[in-house]
């Protein structure tokens, strides 16, 4: 096994045993980035010099017997996390020149834990998308290949993070998940990813998309690696009023707990029309695996599931229309001059935002505008309350819920792009947990008939990521998912 195929847990052990150095590990990944990024476009900005300096510091710290939890582990940072002195674009032209004079809490914590940042990962513009084609810095290609050879999307919005991890350009990555932006790309690229409970990771310094839904989380090739990363990313932050002041449990330990005696809910409403048969089959396999591992399977009902997407496509654009008002060409970012202030605003924003972002700002502005607020936004918030109630009622009966992550495998660039609603349907299984704020994780569980990875999703109670990791760990062990993408470092393609 090369260094590039190691899990984070294995690499940490190898580093601790002095079998490899952080500099070697980082150099190997930087070489992979150099080789693959021209094709996959997973990174917008590569921070090689900084990464090497961090790796040297990690080796020095380890030599001094003072290596923190992630010392020397090379990761990709979604370009939505503000990084001090390193350009942060959010995948948008409007932030093309923006160099934050501050660091996000999550990236700061990872840095403090010794992680090495290889660069800033590509994403859908302002995290708005499920395909990574809306990035102003070009689409990301999924390292997996379909039998017809079509270029596939990696999913989105954390598509660069997913592609980088799947292709062995990084050992792990940060993502953010507003409606599935960690879990769906994880499923599309055959890796694991968790959206923790809303409030578990600080949102401070993360470019906001929809504040009441946004949550940062890790993406990695194993469940345990996600647990290791999340441990470093989590924790109370007084600079975020929605950050939960609770202790961070030992997520890593939870991965090996098993599911003996756990009650797993199967929500009947997740059987949707048009779901690929392989996904139906995989879901059944997941049920069987958990049953065999000692879990009790219970049918549950989440009756408002089908309203998740319509609620999401009101709430998220409404918040986004307001969150993105600050990109006005006055204090930072790109500006297009105008005859007067309004002209400057309109030209700056017309040039700075891409089509999908404009579409969502327009929808959000409309649903909040005078006369429409009650019919759209307020109604959506009420249905959102019903969805939370659904989850609370289900979690009175079960410890976790098992569903597919996405209704299909990765699609080709150009497919599903005729109208926005078709694209939005990708998020049908992931959106409800954002609306309710509960933790949810995607685990790679199998391949479809065309050789593409599929994921299963585990949803847990608020702040019970431990059970999510326990169930996800059991699924991972049962699924024995060992397939690898065609395009990856060391594969010679």
């Amino acid at each position: 096994m090369t260094m590039l195929d190691m899990s984070i847990a294995e690499a940490l052990a190898a580093l601790a045993a002095k079998k490899i150095s952080a500099v070697e590990l980082t150099d190997a990944h930087l070489t992979a980035v150099e080789a693959l990024n021209p094709r996959l476009n997973a990174f917008i900005t590569i921070t090689a010099d900084q990464a090497r300096a961090q790796a040297r510091a990690a080796d020095a710290a380890r030599a001094a017997g003072d290596a923190p939890a992630l010392s020397g582990i090379p990761i990709a940072m979604k370009d939505l996390f503000c990084t001090e002195g390193v350009r942060t674009t959010a995948g948008s032209n409007i932030l093309e020149p923006f160099i934050p004079p501050y660091e996000s809490t999550v990236s700061a914590r990872l840095k403090a834990a010794g992680a090495v940042m290889l660069g800033k990962a590509n994403l859908d513009e302002f995290a708005m998308g499920s395909s990574n084609i809306t990035s102003a810095y070009g689409a990301v290609e999924n390292p997996w290949q379909r039998d017809d050879g079509a270029k596939l999307v990696p999913g989105g919005s954390s598509g660069g993070s997913a592609a980088a991890v799947a292709a062995r350009m990084a050992m792990g990555a940060t993502g953010t998940d507003t409606g599935g932006s960690i879990r769906q790309p994880a499923a599309f690229t055959g890796i694991a990813g968790i959206k923790p409970t809303y409030g578990r990771c600080s949102r401070f310094g993360i470019v906001a998309f929809a504040s009441s839904l946004d949550q940062a989380g890790p993406m990695a090739r194993t469940v345990e690696d996600c647990a290791i990363l999340l441990g470093a990313m989590s924790g109370f932050d007084e600079r975020d009023s929605t950050s939960a002041d609770r202790p961070v449990p030992d997520f890593r330990a939870a991965c090996a707990r098993g599911v003996q005696g756990l009650r797993i809910g199967i929500p009947r409403e997740y059987r949707v029309d048009g779901m690929a048969p392989e996904i139906e089959t995989l879901w059944q396999s997941g049920i069987d695996w958990l049953k065999r591992a000692g879990a009790e399977i219970i049918d549950v009902s989440l009756p408002h599931t089908r309203y998740g997407l319509p609620v999401y496509y009101i709430v998220a654009p409404a918040e986004a229309s307001s969150n993105l008002a600050r990109y006005d060409g006055v204090r930072f970012g790109a500006r297009v001059d105008g005859a007067d202030l309004i002209d400057l605003y309109e030209r700056t924003r017309a040039a700075g935002f891409g089509a999908e972002v404009k579409r969502r700002i327009m929808i959000g502005t409309y649903v909040l505008s005078a006369g429409y607020y009650d019919a759209y936004y307020l109604r959506a918030q009420k249905v959102r309350a019903l969805m939370l109630r659904d989850f609370n009622q289900a979690f009175a009966k079960v410890d976790a819920i098992l569903t597919p992550t996405a209704p299909s495998a990765a699609f080709a660039i150009g497919e599903k792009m005729d109208d926005p609603v078709t694209m939005y349907l990708n998020d049908v299984f992931t959106v409800p947990s954002n609306l309710a704020g509960v933790p949810a994780m995607s685990v790679p569980a199998g391949l479809d008939a065309r050789g593409l990875p599929l994921g299963l999703q585990v949803i847990g109670r608020h702040f019970d990521e431990e059970t999510v990791f326990a169930v996800a760990g059991a699924l991972e062990r049962a699924a024995m998912f060992t397939a690898m993408p065609a395009v990856r470092a060391g594969a010679g393609s």
């Binding site: 020149p97 929605t242 007067d340 309109e346 409309y366 009420k382």
Partner: protein
């Protein structure tokens, strides 16, 4: 409810996004498709339901009143597209 071109232009104005003439019909179609899709929410019985606006279910924490931030005008202005001295600059506004 469905949008007409005039409404598309009004919303764009409110959102401070300049639209080209060919963007208007395209956005009209797309936005109407989305609005048509979310229309299904009208079938949900929400009588007496308290709206849920946030992702977190807790009361707000209050911070102490102390000066802990600011006093770095260089950083505040470092990304400014236009500045005069330590002010941000924009085209002259007539009140």
């Amino acid at each position: 409810m469905s949008l007409d071109p005039a409404t598309v232009r009004r919303i764009a104005k409110l959102a401070r996004i300049r639209l080209t003439d060919d963007e208007v019909p395209r956005l009209e179609g797309e936005l109407n498709a989305i609005l048509g899709y979310v229309e299904q929410l009208s079938e949900v019985d929400v009588d007496g339901v308290q709206p849920l606006s946030g992702g977190a279910q807790m009361a707000m924490r209050l911070r102490d009143d102390a000066v802990t931030d600011g006093n770095y005008p260089d950083k505040i202005l470092a990304n400014a597209p236009d500045r005069i001295g330590n002010f941000f600059a924009v085209p002259k506004v007539v009140e």
